[in-house]
Symmetry: C2
Subunit: 228 residues, 2 copies
Amino acid sequence: MLDRTASAHRLHGISCQSWRLAVETNNIKDWKTVPASCEDYVGHYMLGDRYRKDSKVVADEAIGYAKGVELGGDGKDAWVFDVDETILSNLPYYAQHGFGTTPYNASLFDAWVDLGKAPALPESLRLYKKLIALGVKVVFLTGRDEMRRKVTVLNLKRAGYLTWDKLILRGEDQKGQSAVVYKSGERKKLVEGGYRIIGNIGDQWSDILGSPEGDRTFKLPDPMYYIA
Amino acid sequence: MLDRTASAHRLHGISCQSWRLAVETNNIKDWKTVPASCEDYVGHYMLGDRYRKDSKVVADEAIGYAKGVELGGDGKDAWVFDVDETILSNLPYYAQHGFGTTPYNASLFDAWVDLGKAPALPESLRLYKKLIALGVKVVFLTGRDEMRRKVTVLNLKRAGYLTWDKLILRGEDQKGQSAVVYKSGERKKLVEGGYRIIGNIGDQWSDILGSPEGDRTFKLPDPMYYIA
């Protein structure tokens, strides 16, 4: 059932620390699962205080940057947030499924999503609130399917994200697209619609690569999965 | 003499580990010095085995990638290497100058460079040798001034880099350019000259950002300095 060979054989002699750094810096790409030998390491990272601390630095930098941006005053300055592992945390799910060491299981994961109970990532919620207070428009851009709009809206509000300008989900015709193609395409539409994307934040490199990226991009940690 | 306030005040409540991750992922940009409170942390990282191990993962990924590239057979497949902290190590210098906690001192650093005694980064030398064996053309692209060509050639050969296709140094007319502008401009010339840049590796984000980046880019660790 579990095909760990592809990623496991690549870990020969590498520590889980070095693996995580290489993943976060996008040196290791297209990995399917967390190496089996790193389950404890990733679990401790995610459940301990390092994940929160590493996220805090990113939020601090983003807030510092946003405060310094001179806004247009026309309501067209926007910030793009990814959803999963960026503003909503699926850690309760992954903690019960090996922290990314087992292959992605769409039906199990969808069942979790459909509960609408993913908690907020606290540092991202802080950034979100700050941006709202500054008058920046918020756009949520997620790889979730359009059919999950209702539960996503419910979950976002439960988690404390009470307002936004746009919530963009993947349409029927975008299902075959890679995340980079889909998301950069949607950002292009935003820019064509007059928005200035002053910031863009996600946990995946596919959230922040691909023109137009946004004036500045931020990469949150995520050692549990990779989306191309 | 030492103005550490700019970077030091930003570290409030952040661990040096989180600072380093944020630096390596390009979330923290344009920093002038390593926070004073992180001198020991960075020193231990650089002199211990973590730096080597983190670099090994990058070299392994790069070699694995390069082996899978179908070369054109026309001698136009090229790999771009940055020089300082990518193929040559200035760690002997930085170890005597606070591991990046003190502001950049051009005259002291140039005097070190002029010795021509920077050692090779062993993992990068391994990648270099593998690429040569595969038949990939090697291009060294450095922010060093053209006037340091002679000592740079001497140093490269001493360190074990015995052959290359091009060694590009910063010309007189490029002195005011940012590293991104200068380096992406030189890569553009390479592409216009018929080269296919299959890979590009550096320790700075300014080595690997800016079109044409190369088919795939690799980021080596460097928690000691930032070049815009």
